[in-house]
Amino acid sequence: MPQTNAHPGSALETCGLSLVYGSGETAVTALDGVDFAVSAGEVLALMGPSGSGKTSLLMILGCLLRPSSGEVWVEGRAIANLPDRDLGRLRLQRMGFIFQSYNLFPALTAAENVQVALELKGRDLNDAAGLLERVGLGKRLHNFPRQLSGGEKQRVAIARALAGDPPILLADEPTAALDSTNGRAVVNLLCELAHEQGRAVVVVTHDPRVGDLADRVVRIEDGRLCS
């Protein structure tokens, strides 16, 4: 029986999501009946103790992991039956990812890092300069990651995630490796990107200051959302 989503306007939505890692004696229930939605133009902070299932939920939202049960809608489209190849295309065209450890290509300059994403998304490589300018790195186009500070690296990663103008940004602990000034700058940037351009932004974080700046905070404990 195909389910329909309850909030047609939401960028991401889940219903009755559960996730079990492994099986038998070693089975771990990471998510248990998660109902969740985030809409365009909203910054949502996903907070909770270590091991509570934040990353697991983010991976499911990012179509990198299939839930054990429950349904996920991306911009109103159910993805349970899509083959891996289509999920890859969905990630590429509709989502941008930001990681705790930046995951830049160390052998490429800032501009080239962004250009990889632009080429994959079929966009003009010349957009890289504009994107880096948008994150305040207009003067560091030709620097390699090792020549950049942590905050600058994370901003390059954000510029890369912005390539192709995706409506959804997913970030896992984007400020964990940054000092408070740089962390705040990155969160402010994510908020601007959500509000100005109507993107849905999900930020997994331990950082209470991120919670303060977010539009909404969702808490998760032992794989369940608590309101």
Binding site: L87, R89, L92, F99, Q100, N103, E112, Q115, L120, L125
Partner: protein
């Protein structure tokens, strides 16, 4: 900003491939050294094979004879049973044969002027027809061989035979001979140097019976059909084998290169070079890929298609192959050039040089298959799990 989309037609994948290689310079140098080593090894072995192969037939190929008649069952040029001189006249009587003459090839013992013995191959030819005999003469004249005791040797063997000057007197099988000239670049596959002489001188020096000879060589009438004449010769000379020149050259070459195993051992070394090179390249390409595994995970997480990852890894293979082949083949060509003065020549024709690029490319691409599997096995979700 400078777009780099057209780099090697591989776009950003090509750039990433190149930068991944260049990023770890010392390892890239190890890769290149490995490929260069393999290319040089393979080029040397095949070049030696070609050089040997060439030297087994050089005397045959430099005669103007159309056919060769030899005692039944002979397998190579150097060692044959004698045939009766009457076969010459029988051959001349076959329709379509324009000329026929004897040719003598006999092992002999050469006493160096400074002392010591060397085994040599004395080649006696009819100087009047010019069908066979020494070529590439760099000292003395062909006419000088008409003197009763005159011989010519090659500069390649000057040291070995202990003769560096025209006019030096030596002893062959206890008979006096005089070196009246030198040739250049006439190598022999057996370790025995060639000693060129007139037919009469060769007979005298080797003590070969006047009624016998080793070979009858000859030419065909201009309009004669080679296969037909050969068939007629076979019918008219039942105690002999008759070959057209190319057939005889091929038979001699195959004997030395394959029946004796001399060529096979050289080819085995070439294959070993290929395997060693492949293992080195596979190792290094694998290590490069493993080093950059998180990046391939990032690419897959971003939604990059598999083809993009293939392009990066194959790009690494193609770049390594190209940058390793070029210096490798140049080095091999330099060694080949240097070998021209020695007794064993290494031949690297352009077909070999170009063909080896294909081999290197195939080697590198095959070596990267393991890496591709490794890169494809990673779970894109791993990018979040650290």
């Amino acid at each position: 900003m400078k777009g780099q989309r057209t780099r090697w037609g591989l776009g950003m994948a090509g750039l990433l491939a190149w930068r991944n290689l260049a990023h770890d310079r010392s390892r890239f140098i190890v890769t290149l050294v490995g490929i260069i080593f393999a290319v040089v090894l393979i080029a040397m072995q095949i070049g030696l094979f070609l050089g040997f192969s060439d030297s087994t037939t050089n005397v045959i190929r430099h005669t103007r004879a159309d056919f060769w008649i030899v005692a039944k069952g002979s397998q190579n040029f150097e060692v044959t049973l004698p045939i009766n001189e009457r076969e010459i006249y029988l051959a001349r009587s076959v329709p379509g044969v324009a000329a026929a003459e004897p040719l003598l090839v006999q092992f002999g013992n050469w006493k160096r002027p400074g002392g010591g013995d060397e085994s040599v191959l004395v080649v006696g030819t009819d100087l009047n027809t010019g069908l066979a005999g020494p070529w590439n003469i760099v000292a003395g004249r062909l006419e000088d061989l008409r003197r009763p005791d005159a011989v010519m040797i090659d500069l390649v063997f000057a040291d070995k035979l202990g003769v560096h000057e025209v006019g030096t007197t030596v002893e062959i099988l206890g008979r006096r001979a005089r070196v009246v000239g030198f040739t250049r670049g006439i190598r022999s596959f057996t370790t025995s140097p060639w000693v060129f002489a007139s037919y009469r001188t060769a007979q005298h020096l080797t003590g070969f019976p006047e009624t016998d000879t080793n070979y009858v060589i000859g030419t065909l009438a201009p309009d004669a059909d080679p296969a037909e004449v050969r068939a007629a010769l076979v019918a008219a000379l039942p105690r002999t084998d008759v070959y057209l020149s190319e057939q005889f050259a091929a038979r001699t070459r195959d004997y030395w290169m394959f029946t004796t195993g001399a060529g096979a051992s050289v080819l085995v070394s070439a294959v070993l070079g290929l395997l060693v090179g492949m293992v080195i390249v596979a190792q290094v390409l694998y290590a490069t890929t493993v080093d950059h595994l998180p990046e391939f995970g990032t690419l897959r997480a971003m939604g990059a298609p598999r083809a993009f990852v293939y392009k990066v890894i194959l790009g690494q293979a193609v770049l390594s192959a190209t940058l390793g082949h070029l210096p490798g083949i140049l080095l091999a060509l330099a060694v080949a050039k240097a070998s021209e003065a020695g007794a064993a020549v290494i031949l690297i024709p352009w077909e070999l040089a170009v063909g080896l690029y294909g081999v290197t490319l195939a080697m590198c691409v095959l070596a990267s298959v393991v890496s591709i599997r490794k890169a494809m096995d990673i779970d894109p979700a791993m990018v979040f799990q650290r």
